[in-house]
């Protein structure tokens, strides 16, 4: 018999707030984390704004030893370790100094690219013929699995410890991979999440593709406009989100607080066939991903109360809505509530899925739907499909029983996770 999986802890480092309670407050208040960065202006970026979590020295010292902080120059590891450690503690788990690892706990913590600034340091030293000056910290901060390796060591995990990578789908995919491992009885607890680096070397490629907004450099908080008629590209972001998934029996044994249950989900790809490409989704694959996520979770489309979309603030937002409408067979006033966190954080790329899963689960646990910022001028193609009431501009108080979280990524990859309010 497959095991039931619940969420017992969460942590987050997002552009608009660091720490779970700060983040809860920030999404309730509709606080934007988008800022102007003079560095990007100096480098002639078209888009000179973005979202970065604000981390000070004092905070760093709470999560890293002085030795770990020496030469630490990987923003993704910083955000990932903060959110992962927080999720662990938030679940009421202790950090054991035991010499025996915790065999029942594993980690799937994804990233798109890690340690870019550290890698840049290394490239300069190597090109100057000073390779030996790299020291011992270059590899561990730039290997993709650096983040799961850091967390695995801090927490002493003895089950599977790995890093997944599937562009903007990464975080939601990590959650579903961890879910399956517990469901199959291979682990009692899986710390799942994702993180992403920030700065010009990560964002430059997107700027060059002209997929970022360039007309909001002096009004950054208005730049990220998912579902708006005036959306002109996604605002690049970064950070990390983490969730501790736990076998229901184990959670009960510990008397842990349960935020929500993970019912199931689906991960697939459009194979870059049909309208699918390296950068665009095959619509049939998206529909299929949604439909199967419901089937795998044993629920009907009518039961869905709320969607936390991928919705990045590009022309593709309308297409995403069309896919939801077709997959669910629901529209206008019958359509579920829908929102996008990206109006507040920008598109946190590989970190987006997990940060948005944390936001989704907070909504279920605290019975509210956060408001969509910057879409007063709803896109006409979206307005034709979904009644404006279903796309709240301001926070509403609303009990949510079932929520779908979707993430879609470059490479034509999709993931949809289904969460349910926990009822014993």
């Amino acid at each position: 018999m497959s095991r039931r999986v619940v969420i017992t802890g969460m942590g987050v480092a997002a552009p608009n707030a660091v720490g779970l309670e700060n983040f809860h407050l920030a999404i309730r208040q509709g606080k934007s984390g988008i800022r102007f960065f003079p560095e990007l202006e100096k480098l002639n970026f078209s888009c000179q704004i973005g979202g970065k979590p604000e981390i000070n020295e004092e905070l760093l010292q709470q999560y890293f030893t002085p030795l770990q902080l020496r030469g630490l120059n990987s923003s993704g590891i910083v955000y990932g370790v903060i959110s992962g450690t927080d999720a662990w503690k938030n679940a009421g788990m202790e950090i054991s100094e035991d010499s025996v690892p915790d065999w029942d706990t594993g980690i799937i913590f994804g990233t798109g690219i890690l340690g870019v600034d550290k890698f840049r340091e290394a490239i300069h030293l190597i090109d100057e013929g000073r390779t030996r000056r790299l020291g011992s910290t270059s590899v561990i901060q730039t290997m993709a699995s650096g983040i799961s390796a850091y967390l695995g060591g801090i927490l002493g995990c003895g089950n599977q410890v790995t890093t997944n990578s599937s562009a903007c789908t990464t975080g939601t995919e990590a959650l579903l991979m961890g879910f399956e491992r517990i469901q199959q009885g291979k682990a009692k607890r899986m710390l799942v999440g994702s993180c992403g680096d920030d700065g010009p070397y990560v964002w430059g490629g997107f700027d060059a593709m002209r997929v970022l907004p360039s007309k909001y450099n002096n009004i950054p908080k208005e730049a990220s406009r998912p579902m708006s008629a005036t959306a002109s590209g996604f605002v690049p972001g970064s950070g990390a989100g983490a969730l501790l998934l736990e076998d229901l029996d184990s959670a009960r044994e510990r008397g842990a607080r349960i935020y929500a249950e993970v019912l199931g989900g689906e991960i697939n790809s459009g194979g870059q066939r049909g309208e699918g490409s390296m950068t665009a989704a095959n619509n049939q694959a998206v529909e299929r991903c949604i439909t199967r996520s419901l089937q795998n979770s044993g629920i009907e489309a009518e039961e869905l109360d709320c969607i936390n979309g991928h919705l990045t603030a590009t022309a593709r937002d309308s297409t995403e809505i069309q896919n939801w409408v077709r997959a669910l067979g629901r529209k206008q006033k019958e359509f579920p509530y829908i929102n996008s966190l990206k109006s507040l954080t920008g598109h946190c790329l590989s970190a987006s899925g997990s940060i948005e899963c944390v936001a989704s689960v907070l909504q279920i646990y605290h019975s509210f739907i956060f408001g969509n910022r910057n879409c007063e001028d709803l896109h006409p193609e979206i307005e034709a499909l979904v009644h404006q009431d279903r796309i709240p501009g301001k926070i509403i108080s609303q009990k949510i029983n079932i929520l779908a979280k979707a993430s879609f990524g470059f490479g034509d990859v999709n993931a949809v996770a289904i969460f349910k309010k926990f009822n014993d």
């Binding site: 030795l67 030469g71 020291g135 011992s136």
Partner: protein
Amino acid sequence: MSEQEIILRLKKIVEPYVQRLEGLNNFREETDFLRDLEINSANLVDVVLDVEDEFDIMIDNDSMDGMLTVGDAKDIIQNKIG
């Protein structure tokens, strides 16, 4: 520079890497970096880089391989700063 001073400065350099703090109480020429101080072997290259910066010297790979104790390090440094 006196031997005493070199050893004192060495102690400061290795401190952040030491996992067995008792080892620092009895920091002398015989002290073994790995056995007595339990410095992670991967961090030895960082200790060498820090020594180079502190004394403004360059330690070649062969000397590095022979640097197992505080005394070894002191000898190498003395030798380099002449």
